[in-house]
């Protein structure tokens, strides 16, 4: 009986794949594949990114004159392709590099997508982009920061997000400014997990800081998804660093905030490297215990009526969450990719690739705080950048640095709870 059920399910599933495959013959629809973690422990990011991409698709496919500074927003559809509409096909990578690669193959060969956006986790971006490279399909990652991704000599691979060397520059400049304003920044504790993200970012920051003459770096590593972090907080309490830099995913970020409160530890300055600290669930869970935390973000809401404020509104209506850096970078990467398709005026992969290479987007055309988008020969955006934001009231981040973009002045001492 169960076997019959399984067979039936398989047949039904197989049929729907065939049907979905047949539907692509319709013209005037440009399909873009998106690979995201939709299940497993990072699934909340996938869910938020999905909502953001749906908002972005709406902006592109329908007329939005209020956003006329952004490419593609003003008119309905892609002008370069005779008003063609964009459709996203989302695939779940299940947190596995193997599944990510299988899904990339399916998106390319079954769904006939013209380009792929993905895949959040760097390891999965690595395997899934290898398939795109073999098939000659443009692949853009808006999120993955691992250094080796752009070192493979790929011709079809592009990355819009800032990466670890950019973080070093941003933190160094920020800390220099804070020091000038009176904060102590001599000893810096790097608290990070042992995942590919945590370990490699911490490593780059430690070496980068050393090169810039910052010698007082303390390394505090822990295993990801920890059941307990009391020992680490006590270590920090004992070593008394001037700045604690947190490189953590949401689960551990929440646990650290709770444990710091229960052990009554407040560092003079708490600085977070995006990731968990940008997650809206972090703010809902422990925002009130983390008042005054600084965070890296390329996203800032901006004044009312600005494109970013309009988009933040649309996103909130769609998902019920506040817009934040991670989904913002996802959305920005998508806009860059679709803009290239529009400029290519064709769905021919080679033309899209050429258009991506010729990308030169100005800061005012962006929703994120990059200084523009321009790819080097390796496919890395050389103008990627970020702000520093602060959770002053425990509910909403405000941008506080650099000065030119600041909504409020930074509050120096960490308040906590």
């Amino acid at each position: 009986m169960t076997f019959k059920l399984a067979t039936r399910l398989l047949c039904a599933a197989a049929m729907s794949i065939v049907l979905a495959g047949g539907a692509q013959a319709e013209d005037k629809v440009v399909k873009i594949g998106v690979i995201l973690p939709m299940s497993g422990s990072t699934a909340s990011i996938g869910a938020h990114a999905k909502a953001a991409l749906e908002v972005a698709t709406d902006i592109i496919n329908n007329a939005h004159p209020e956003l006329d500074k952004l490419p593609l927003a003003k008119n309905a559809g892609l002008a370069g392709l005779g008003g063609a509409k964009v459709e996203i096909v989302i695939a779940d990578n299940q947190g596995s590099p193997a599944t990510g690669q299988n899904q990339a193959l399916r998106l390319i060969t079954e769904e006939k997508v013209v380009a792929i956006l993905g895949a959040y986790q760097s390891g999965i971006t690595l395997t899934s982009s290898a398939i795109a490279e073999k098939y000659g399909i443009p692949y853009l990652t808006p999120e993955s920061v691992a250094a080796n991704l752009t070192e493979r000599g790929f011709k079809w691979f592009f990355r819009t997000t800032p990466i670890a060397p950019d973080f070093v520059r941003i933190y160094d400049e920020f800390l220099t400014d804070m020091k000038a304003a009176g904060a102590k920044t001599d000893t810096i504790a790097l608290v990070h997990d042992n995942t590919e993200y945590g370990a490699s970012v911490a490593n780059t920051i430690a070496t980068g800081f050393k090169a810039k003459g910052r010698t007082g770096v303390i390394d505090v590593a822990y295993a990801v998804n920890a059941t307990d972090v009391q020992a680490q907080v006590l270590q920090l309490k004992e070593k008394k660093p001037d700045v604690v830099l947190m490189i953590s995913y949401t689960s551990d970020a929440i646990l650290f905030a709770k444990t710091m409160q229960s052990l009554d530890y407040k560092p003079p300055m708490l600085l977070a490297d995006d990731a968990g600290y940008s997650d809206p669930s972090f703010i809902k869970a422990v925002g009130k215990l983390s008042q005054g935390v600084f965070n890296r973000s390329s996203w800032a809401v901006g004044p009312a009526g600005s494109p970013s404020a309009v988009i933040a509104d649309m996103y909130k209506k769609k998902s019920g969450e506040e817009m934040e850096d991670t989904v913002g970078r996802e959305m920005q990467g998508f806009f860059v990719l679709v803009d290239a398709i529009d400029r290519a005026g064709s769905t021919d992969p080679a033309k899209i690739q050429a258009a991506l290479k010729a990308t030169d987007i100005k800061p005012e055309q962006l929703i994120m705080g990059y200084k523009g988008v321009k790819f080097d020969e390796k496919g890395q955006n050389v103008l990627a950048s970020a702000y520093i934001i602060q959770l002053q009231d425990g509910e909403n981040y405000v941008s506080v640095w650099p000065k030119g973009n600041a909504e409020k002045a930074p509050v120096m001492s960490y308040k906590g709870w």
Binding site: S44, T227, P280, A285, V286
Partner: protein, 287 residues
């Protein structure tokens, strides 16, 4: 001994008590029925979500959440026993792994489907802040979990050794056929054991929710700790699980502080393997 080290050890003991708390249910069914429950971590997760729902819907703390979690999970335990366990128990050990792993996915992703993947959390201090005793910081929610762990261990131990229900359950565990000949119904006894085990696990989840984060995949993180605790303590030994839990908690805390947190799990696993070499039946298990 430095003062910080005392705080590390006390923190480790409180953590260990929590490990013991969510392992006691597992050791009960594992010992009594020789069944591997791969869904155990997800039972803890369900207990946490019961506490979360109680808080968001009624604003209730653990006084309401914990008993409700016991009730909900005990019911689920009985349902799972009659719907799945009773049949796969008769099969090979592999069928148990297969069935309970499938159950784990089913529970985890049903919760995922209903609540989404976002991290949830109960307000800090829902139980009542942090005490400073002679400079030591003791969090009320962890103390509560620790005290309940001791009570549950004691209660289960007394139940098994001092009551007629306990002796009946043990008789079934020893030899179901013989027990049946003496007029004990194995089905009933085993269903009761599942209700108690699942109830205790739900209680653990509801109490952990007070100081941990809540997410559908949290069972993965906690499940494997429970496995190690139970095998170290000896399958079926409730006091063994308590001792093993405390031991693991202190070892993790100390090695996390002295050697580095990325190595603390390695230390626990290697000690566990060494231990198995000398005492394959666990700390307090019988041969």
């Amino acid at each position: 001994m430095s003062f910080v080290l005392v705080q590390v050890i006390v923190g480790g003991l409180l953590l260990g008590a929590v490990y013991a708390l969510f392992s006691s249910g597992l050791t009960l069914v594992w010992g009594m029925m020789n069944i591997v429950n791969f869904a155990h971590g997800d039972f803890v997760m369900l207990g946490m979500y019961v506490a979360y729902v109680v808080y968001t819907l009624m604003g209730g703390g653990p006084i309401v959440g914990a008993p409700l979690a016991v009730l909900v999970l005990a019911t689920l335990g009985v349902v799972v026993y009659f719907g799945l366990i009773r049949d796969i128990m008769k099969g090979p050990m592999l069928a148990q792994i297969l069935g309970t792993f499938g159950l784990a996915l089913l529970l985890r992703y049903s919760v995922f489907w209903w609540f989404g993947a976002d991290f949830k959390s109960l307000p800090q201090n829902i139980v009542g802040g942090t005490y400073a005793v002679a400079g030591l910081r003791l969090e009320a929610s962890r103390l509560l979990a620790g005290v309940v762990a001791l009570l549950v261990t004691l209660g289960l131990h007394l139940l098994l050794t001092r009551t007629s229900l306990g002796s009946k359950m043990l008789a079934v565990a020893e030899d179901a056929t013989a027990a049946q000949l003496m007029g004990i119904r194995p089905d009933t006894m085993q269903a009761i054991a599942w209700a108690i085990a699942a109830g205790a696990t739900g209680l653990a989840g509801a109490l952990i929710a007070n100081f941990f984060y809540i997410v559908p995949t949290v069972g993965e993180t906690l499940g494997i700790v429970a496995f190690v605790t139970v095998s170290l303590g000896g399958f079926g030994s409730v006091p063994g699980a308590l001792v093993a839990g405390l031991l693991i908690g202190v070892i993790e805390s100390l090695s996390g502080y002295l050697i580095g947190a990325v190595y603390k799990d390695i230390v626990v696993y290697i000690l566990f393997l060494f231990f198995l070499w000398f005492r394959p039946q666990g700390l307090m298990g019988k041969m």
